[in-house]
Amino acid sequence: MADPNTKFLVVDDFSTMRRIVRNLLKELGYTNVEEAEDGQDGLNKLKSGGFDFVVSDWNMPNMDGLTMLQNIRKDSALASLPVLMVTAEAKKENIIAAAQAGANGYVVKPFTAATLDEKLSKIFEKLGQ
């Protein structure tokens, strides 16, 4: 099911959360994971190429996750990259703004391993169609 070669970028300013997401992805069979500490760092790494999937926080210094997502959708080389938002922002406006900006999924913190698994499967399923 899970293609272990799928290359993930986990973008979060808290190293603990990056570690948790990385471990959860490993449990799900995805071992090819890199990390970025904010939107700017994330965008730079994405532009260097090779990534298949982005899991990003929203509230980060330098560049937040929404701005990074908007930049990804504007960049022709990255525009089709699936982006899953994993964030503590839980206002309805946030969810709508993320969806309008082109997020492929929205997971609200605190979240469970099962939720992450379900959202990833759903996104891969849709991409496969």
């Binding site: 503590a88 922002e89 839980a90 406006e93 969810i95 703004a97 969806a99 929205y106 609200v108 605190p110």
Partner: protein, 228 residues
Amino acid sequence: MSKNEKKITQSISDNTALDGAVAVKANEDDMLHRIGQMTRGLHESLRELGLDQMIEKAAQEIPDARDRLNYVATMTEQAADRVLNATDIANPLQDNIIDKAASLEAKWKDVMKTPSLKSEYNEAAEATLVFLKQAVEDSNATKAQLLEIMMAQDFQDLTGQVIKKITELAHSIEKELVRTLVDFAPNKPVMAAVESDGLLNGPQINPEATNVVSSQEQVDDLLDSLGF
């Protein structure tokens, strides 16, 4: 006025006691009047500088800060409890593995004292012994890690206390500010709390709040309803 002049003034007023009492009363009135003027001046200066609004804003923000600190305390406590519960479950399991592996090892050693058994049998027994020895070592190492996990939770006690202190302090400052506002702006209706309409609000600490989702299910429902 020099010390000597003061003394002279004092002795003159002593000589005219009735006149002196009237003068003291007038002085008191004057002093109270001037304090009143200073207070009004200060109050007006504060308003001119926009400080009264700043105090009002601070008074509104402190309950929010307090709730956030409470949220931090609750979340860290929950995390600490989860880890401690996990170590409570894992520790007896490890103890069990260690005990059983150790007794099995002893049993095999006894069996192998008999020389008549086949060589394959010996080989298998040797391998089992190696495994059992390793199981004991690994389990002990795991237990050391479990202890480390347990000890790493000591932060909860310390941060919890610190946060509690700050929360109490914030609460008392908030009460003082509110009282000051009520005393000095009695005719002004208390401004309704300004709702933040930004998109960076951090974790939602109150699931009952309006316009906020409180679970992943609600996120999914909202996105479904919008056709995403």
